[in-house]
């Protein structure tokens, strides 16, 4: 029973925490650029405003266009229940391992790409084709990175990884370092952060994610934006549980949750700072350089896997 309580608590944490995380990143970014900030809670206000607006639908919008926001949001909520963020061995964790989780995100992306093409505007199709190009390069690299981690934990289940890393002996593993490096690059690409995509601009020549959702408005847009924030939050959570799981609560232990929550907030704050440092230090790259960027992610992931066999 406590398991389900923790499960519900965790989904709520993701739902509420994702906009705060994005707000934290935006605030930090404003500070580094000496701008005045809109506050850490601004993403909430954006979402709330969008929920109050009417939906404008194109005449030729099909059911795919109307269905996609709910599917994308639903996938994010489901993933929020599967990834161990507060506690290991959640009741839902057994339903999907990390490969199924990546497939879940792929379903969401597939439908967003379809919806981008559904209306038939040029921008939507362009965004979809770019997104699929990036996805086709990012997903093999992501799987390679995950395989490296699962080689060490002997399981593709995300719940199993903290058992080996946090509760086992501490060993210096070059393979984990490579996998982490690959994972950071992939996360930047998958969540549309700066070297690959710029989440803050609607410049027609460069946008990828924004181009696909250009036709959405009102409640639909709010759901997609919220799901996008959750995706960033969840990818960070996967990274934390796979590489820095120290402090996560053991299963079914309500008393350990406050500490786990506290440590989680600290970890996310640190990761947010890292993202801002990367985004401030780099410029957005040309779209044809993305293949090299993700190629090196694949290289790191493969080197991680090889060094597991060679060096450990």
């Amino acid at each position: 029973m406590t398991g389900f309580l923790i499960e519900i608590l965790q989904v709520l944490v993701v739902l509420i925490g994702a906009p705060v995380f994005v707000g934290w990143i935006r605030t930090l970014k404003c500070w580094t650029q000496s701008r005045s900030t809109a506050g850490i809670l601004q993403p909430y206000r954006d979402i709330l405003k969008l929920f109050h607006k009417d939906i404008m639908l194109a005449e030729n919008a099909s059911w795919i266009f109307r269905f996609t926001p709910y599917l994308v949001f639903g996938v994010s909520v489901l993933a929020a229940g599967i990834i161990p963020i507060l506690s290991v061995d959640l009741p839902l964790a057994k339903t999907a391992d990390v490969i199924a989780l990546i497939a879940l995100f792929a379903i969401a992306r597939f439908f967003i790409a379809l919806a981008g093409m559904d209306i038939g505007t040029a921008f939507g199709g362009m965004g979809s084709s770019r997104e699929m190009m990036i996805a086709s390069l990012a997903e093999p690299a992501m799987l390679m990175a995950i395989f490296t981690v699962s080689l060490i934990s002997q399981s593709t289940s995300l719940s199993q990884i903290p058992h080996v890393i946090a509760y086992g002996d501490f060993i210096l593993r070059p393979s984990m370092a490579f996998a982490l490096l690959a994972f950071i690059l992939i996360t930047l690409a998958e969540t549309g952060r700066i070297p690959v995509d710029n989440p803050a601009t609607h410049l027609e020549l460069t946008m990828i994610h924004e181009a696909m959702i250009l036709e959405y408005s009102g409640k639909h847009l709010a759901l997609i934006e919220w799901a996008g924030m959750m995706k960033l939050f969840l990818f960070t959570a996967i990274g934390i549980v796979a590489f820095f799981p120290w402090g996560i609560a053991p299963s079914d232990n309500m008393a350990a949750i406050p500490l786990a929550l506290f440590l989680m907030i600290i970890k996310f704050a640190v990761v947010g700072t890292g993202i801002v440092l990367i985004e401030t230090g780099l410029a957005k790259m040309r779209i044809f350089r993305v293949s090299e960027f993700l190629g090196s992610a694949f290289l790191f992931a493969t080197l991680g896997m090889l060094s597991y066999f060679i060096l450990e």
């Binding site: 370092a177 290289l299 080197l303 060679i310 060096l311």
Partner: protein, 219 residues
């Protein structure tokens, strides 16, 4: 695995990473920096192996590597790059993803090739032999794929790094006399390369070695 062997593994991984960095980096200065880092990791690894095995001449090799490959050779190449006025040059024709894939295949090949040695050997460093061989092969690949004379030399020097690493991990290093000799050779080679660079540039009006394929003068 004890801690020293673990740190040695991490150093081996970093050497492999720098090899790939050399393979795909287009800019001259960045190449020099990566090469210097590779020398530093090699030096640290040599010192660790010396500590683990108790062979004290490896400390001398380590210091030699540090002086020669981290400070002296990058400095000489740096001077050369400034004198030749190629510090802003960027190589254009290099297919990075394909080169990376070939590189990965080479790493797997070296692992396969060295696995019998790994089974037989009793040294703590036996697992890094595969990385050493891979570094040699990646240096060779760099010499094949690159067209610029200076980058080919860096490839050659990184190959030598790989050989040195192989000697350290397979047999706890060569005799000191041999290592001193090789070090001196490398230094002399760097000077000769410098002279050759100037010759190539005056003859071919550039450092692109593809032009050397032309044996006759233009019609």
């Amino acid at each position: 695995m004890n801690l020293a062997a673990q740190i040695n593994s991490v150093m081996a991984a970093l050497i492999l990473l720098t090899s790939f960095g050399l393979l795909v980096q287009r800019r001259m200065y960045a190449l020099l920096h990566i090469f210097a880092w590779q020398g530093l990791f090699l030096s640290i690894s040599t010192a660790i192996v010396g500590y683990v095995s108790g062979t004290h001449h490896l400390y001398i090799s380590s210091v030699l590597t540090l002086v020669l490959k981290v400070i002296l050779l990058p400095y000489i190449l740096h001077i050369l790059i400034i004198r030749l006025q190629i510090h802003k040059e960027v190589e254009t024709t290099i297919n990075v993803p394909t080169t990376m894939l070939i590189g990965i295949a080479l790493v797997i090949f070296s692992y396969h090739l060295t696995s019998p040695i790994r089974e037989l050997s009793t040294l703590v460093t036996r697992s890094t032999i595969a990385v050493a061989l891979a570094t040699v092969m990646l240096g060779l690949l760099m010499m094949i794929t690159r067209k610029h004379a200076v980058t080919q030399i860096i490839g050659f020097l990184s190959m030598e790094n790989g050989l040195f690493f192989a000697a350290t991990s397979a047999t706890y290093g060569m005799p000191l006399v041999v290592e001193l000799g090789v070090g001196l050779d490398i230094l002399i080679a760097a000077f000769i390369f410098g002279i050759f660079f100037f010759q190539i540039r005056t003859t071919f009006d550039g450092l692109d070695v593809d032009q050397m394929a032309k044996l006759k003068e233009e019609d």
